[in-house]
């Protein structure tokens, strides 16, 4: 039976522009979508592409551990949202008013705006990557770094909902990590950065549950 390392080695042919495209698509989905199921899937896929790119910079084992931390974070988000869905069910049953026509338009306008903003951020990231290449890493990984950092910051800026901000912060950190592993290959730093990511995920989950418990959700979307 093949191990996780074998599987990663088999798909290593994707660890160039296809992975960068994957990063762009998954981060774009995170910016546009407010469906938690889609977001968790996109985030899991994003960590997969980041791990693929990391394999070109650091040892496969270390990249795999980083990926495992990322997928654990996705599991935390999945369990949190499942719990939140259960908490919200009684409220949803009470609120039986069908959405107004203008409300559907408002949602659509938000998604359209987010899509446009994501495209603008991606174009800016491309321009910056061409003009200011990062030291010690190849051009395509530079582009992936700028995309993750740019779209992560966009995600943080577009919402005050804990889950969106948390996903944005972790996307931002993934972009930085992709660059920083080339500068500082120390295992202690890698471990501490992993701990930082995991704690951000736990703090986000804590705030998400508190948000639902206080009934403050609609104000922050």
């Amino acid at each position: 039976m093949p191990t996780l390392l074998d599987l990663l080695a088999r798909v290593s042919f994707l660890a160039a522009m296809p992975a960068v495209a994957g990063v762009l698509i998954t981060a774009g989905i995170l910016v546009v979508s407010r469906d938690w199921r889609l977001n968790v899937i996109a985030f899991t896929a994003q960590y997969f592409f980041v791990v693929l790119l990391l394999t070109r910079l650091i040892q496969l084992e270390v990249a795999t551990v980083k990926g495992l931390i990322g997928w654990l974070i996705c599991l935390v988000f999945y369990l949190t949202e499942r719990r939140v869905s259960m908490l919200e069910q009684p409220l949803a049953a009470q609120d039986t008013t069908p959405p107004q026509r203008w409300q559907r338009w408002a949602l659509s306008a938000r998604a359209s705006f987010c899509l446009l903003a994501a495209i603008a951020a991606a174009v800016t990231a491309y321009m910056v990557a061409m003009r200011f290449p990062l030291p010690e890493i190849p051009t395509d990984i530079t582009l992936a770094c700028y995309l993750l950092v740019g779209l992560g910051l966009l995600l943080v800026g577009l919402s005050e909902a804990p889950m969106q901000v948390g996903l944005g912060l972790l996307t931002f950190l993934s972009g930085f990590d992709l660059f920083y592993v080339a500068l500082e290959p120390s295992l202690a730093v890698a471990g501490l950065l992993g701990a930082v990511s995991f704690l951000i995920a736990l703090a986000t989950a804590h705030l998400r549950v508190a948000q639902v418990a206080s009934g403050d959700e609609r104000k922050t979307l």
Binding site: P162, A188, V189, L199, I200, T204, L207, A210, S214
Partner: protein
Amino acid sequence: MIAGPLVLLILPLVMAGVVYVLRRWATLSALLAVGTALVLGIAVITLSLDQPVQPLLFLGQERQIAMGEAVTLLGRELVLEQADRMAMTYLFFTAAGLFFLAWRAAPHSLLFPMGLGLLSLLSGALLIRPLIYAALLIEIAAALSVFALQAEGKTPTRGGMRYLTFTTMALPGLLVTHWLMDRYTLTPDDTGLLSATAALLAVSFALLLGVVPFHTWVPAVAGDAVPLAGAFVLTVGNGAVWFLLLDFLETYPWLNTHPLFGSLFSTAGLVMVVVGGLLAPAQRRLGPVMGYGALVDSGSALIALGMHSKLGLTLALLSLLVRPFGLALVAAGLSGLRARNGDDDSFDALRGLGWRAMWSTATLILGGLAVAGLPVSAGFVGRWALCRALMPSSPGVALFLLLAGLGVMVGVWKGLSALLERPRSPEENETQEITSEGWLMAAVLAVAILACLWVGFFPQAIAPLAARLAETYTFFVP
């Protein structure tokens, strides 16, 4: 023999676990938290750095503690130096004071276990070398503090989230700095590396200290979080960031010879003072007023550091030392008022509450005076000394500082006038629930008020400490 730095890291962490388990017994957990912070603070300041002292009974064997002994943890060196010693004393004693107030004002919050955990991490940040690990530990501490900031199912989640966001955004700059300095060591002709380092450090510390326009987390933390946890972040957490900044200036002395050093700090501080002074009176809730007061205070400390002299450094440290008195009092008063008002601190909701919560109101007033830097309070000590030092060279800046203090006081005054509004009719008065604050709460608040007044009336008790602390840094010539 036990190395002192290990004790400072491990003991608060172990006690955090114990206190978390004992959380149901609020008094026991609070007193354990206060005791731990006090014992560590006293140990740091009294035990000698040069030689092992005080035989300690540890697992049935007599052990000695060597506070000054360096220890290696995961290949990184942890060492307690003279400057860190004073800084850590400040952190431990401030935390002890906040835990003491939280004993009565927020007995069931997560502040006790999380606060002890934060003390361990922040101590590690001050002890560890190289400094990139300090940045990582501060980021971990920020993530952990979210659990203390957010009350369970009560308030909006904005404060904790914003604090975490800005701290996370500061992390890359601090980490890359280390690599840039390593490269500069190899290629000393490339001065562009120094400029990049200075720019990254400036942006990172601006994010961490809440410099305008990155200040939005400060009023959010003060307004939306558990008040004493907010005060913890704004005093202990922010204090650790200040000492880390001073460590950076000490480690890289070329930073303070940068031509823009003085003007950068002075301008950033002045903008914070002006923004805080203008926005504080415009608030409709007491929490954000405290946040803008803290912003003015941080701005005044930056202005002091921008004086580019030993005197300026002393005044910045004095401002840092007296800050907990004001913020802790406001937070304790706010906690008392919120507890009797369904967690609402808007001026409309507070009308007439002052007559039912006299001690909380009195604490809030004196804390407001201290945060605004007005006479008879602890905050006046630092603010007035800075104004006097600035008057000969920059009278305009000194005037702005005084006006900003008045602006903060106007915000507090608006809250006070709502609190002391008389009930409109006897019937309304009768329907209001009379809630006693209890003698123990009154005693705790009275102790805090007396401490603030004592420092205000006898500044000679605290000013020499700031001078001694400033002596431990050598990056400014006297």
